[in-house]
């Protein structure tokens, strides 16, 4: 048992690094994902991941496989798309979904254009699928920093963000923080996606954000519970996924996301809070009064 579960992490430092890195993303991306889910913006994660890709690619072209350059590129591209689409929708009375779609498509097309004009064959495979098993010190520091920034910002933004999600008209009536809560939140989404692509790749990092809350939702109802369970589920999935990838020699990002996928399917069937079985079987009901 010890051999199977613990030994890979004690014997190989790349496994330790992968685990620490994944835990860092789990702790910060899960709460972000909870708010995305509650605002019915789960697909926004995907959109932002596409918006980031060109920025990362440009960073790669300028400085090669440097985490710093790719991260800065990704953050700049992602924040530009998030801020522009947010501003446009608030200034012109058009839904944020359409303005965000427009800007991410522009960003994606620009990225492709820049890459092809420069004629360099960028190895985007790394950006797309990441390399959790090759996290160096810089990458770990980056992940830790993003995780810390996210948690501190969430703690500060928590109350306005909850109000913005639930009743933004009320928030606007008592303070001018509505725009800040919304924009700050989108910037955090971008930061976490960028953080995730070092470990899991852009596309898979969306999964770290979206799947744990989707799983937690089938077990708990309250906001604090959702955040806590998401973090637990995410960390556990990373642990199991890394083990599977080690023992079966599967690609790490696929192994982690598929672990979450399996947990999701189990949860929506067996979940105690509105799962399939509970919904189908629950025929009992209570009297009107005791």
């Amino acid at each position: 048992m010890f051999e199977f579960l613990i030994a890979p992490f004690t014997e190989f430092s790349f496994m330790q690094r992968a685990l620490v890195g994944c835990f860092a993303i789990s702790i910060s991306a899960s709460p972000i994902g909870v708010f995305l889910m509650l605002r019915r913006m789960s697909l926004t994660g995907d959109v932002m991941a596409h918006a980031i890709l060109p920025g990362a690619a440009v960073g790669f072209m300028v400085a090669g496989l440097s985490i710093g350059a790719m991260t800065i590129g990704g953050i700049v591209a992602g924040c530009l798309v998030a801020l522009l689409s947010g501003l446009v929708s608030r200034l012109t009375d058009v839904g944020e979904d359409s303005s965000m779609a427009a800007f991410y498509l522009i960003s994606l097309a620009l990225g492709v254009l820049i890459i092809s004009l420069n004629g360099s064959q960028v190895d985007l495979l790394h950006v797309l699928f990441g390399s959790a098993l090759a996290l160096n010190n810089d990458a770990l520091i980056l992940l830790g920093a993003i995780s810390s920034i996210t948690l501190i910002s969430l703690a500060v933004l928590y109350r306005p963000l909850v109000m913005e999600c639930m009743d933004s008209a009320f928030l606007r009536s008592v303070s001018g923080l509505s725009l800040w809560a919304h924009m700050g939140f989108l910037v955090l989404v971008v930061l976490n996606l960028v953080g995730g692509f070092n470990a899991l790749g852009t596309l898979m990092s969306v999964g770290m954000m979206i799947l744990p809350p989707a799983i937690a939702r089938y077990w708990v109802a309250r906001l604090d519970g959702l955040i806590g369970v998401s973090i637990l589920v995410s960390s556990l999935s990373c642990f199991l996924g890394l083990l599977a990838s080690y023992h079966a020699a599967w690609p790490t990002s696929s192994a982690i996301i598929l672990t979450m996928g399996a947990a999701y399917i189990f949860s929506f069937i067996a979940g105690s809070n509105g799962g399939l079985i509970k919904t189908l079987v629950a025929k009992q009901h209570k009297h009107l009064s005791a």
Binding site: V156, M166, A169, S175, L223
Partner: protein, 243 residues
């Protein structure tokens, strides 16, 4: 005078939804705002809150800041599936004291309890808002208004899709606010409620039709004038040079 509209025009995309409104609202007034759908009632409330910039004219608030106005938007604007409990939602009404970051003190928690009791929801503290009926939810939002302790209260269709018992209880609360000298402006469609509980009325049909004591405003003549409002924006209309 707590509010003064000066030649106020509010609208969307150049088309006016409220057209050249000039009037003052007395401190302590209990004012019903009525008129057909699309008459600009909710728009006017948004204008008072500063959420919509006037196309022309201005709204003046006297001795009250914009963020000290308590505003109850239409019920449909609240995401009732959000996983938050009744007491958490009501405690957000203490924003003026706590701000975005301040701690919720014991006195606030006590006030939440007494607000819920006063509004008829004692014992609902730990319920998720997703489990409430429409009427219970409206009571919760009224409890949050109580927490705000505002001197000017704006209600947007507070009794739409609410049963008669709840409406009665909430009207009682409105009467209490009126007695304690607060100014209340409510968007309403139910004429019998207006006649029974609101001394003053503004009948709006993009243009102000009538304003004053309710019995002189809600006459057959005025009501039929308001109904003649052309609901569609006229794309051919020229630019207004009324000012």
């Amino acid at each position: 005078m707590i509010l003064q509209f000066n030649n106020l025009t509010l609208g969307y995309d150049l088309h006016p939804a409220v057209h050249h409104l000039t009037l003052g609202v007395q401190r302590g007034a209990l004012l019903a705002l009525t008129g057909p759908n699309g008459a600009g009632k909710s728009t006017l409330l948004k204008g008072i809150m500063g959420q919509l910039r006037p196309l022309d004219g201005s709204v003046e608030c006297h001795d009250i800041r914009r963020n000290e106005i308590a505003y109850l938007p239409q019920l449909s604007q609240v995401d009732r599936r959000f996983p938050i409990t009744v007491d958490e939602l009501v405690s957000l009404g203490a924003w003026k004291q706590t701000g975005a970051f301040g701690r919720l003190k014991m006195q606030h928690k006590k006030k939440v309890g007494s607000a819920l009791e006063q509004i008829g929801l004692a014992g609902f503290e730990k319920r998720l808002i997703s489990t409430l009926s429409g009427g219970q939810m409206q009571r919760v939002l009224f409890a949050r208004l109580l927490m705000q302790e505002a001197n000017l209260i704006l209600l947007d269709e507070p009794f739409t899709a609410i049963d008669s018992k709840t409406t009665e209880d909430l009207l009682e609360q409105v009467a209490l606010w009126h007695q304690s000298g607060k100014t209340v402006i409510a968007v309403l469609h139910e004429l019998n409620i207006i006649r029974g509980h609101f001394p003053e009325t503004l009948l709006l049909s993009r243009q102000p039709i009538a304003y004053g004591p309710t019995e002189t405003v809600l006459t057959d003549n005025n009501l039929s004038k308001a109904r003649q409002l052309n609901e569609a924006f006229d794309e051919q209309a020229g630019l207004c040079s009324h000012a």
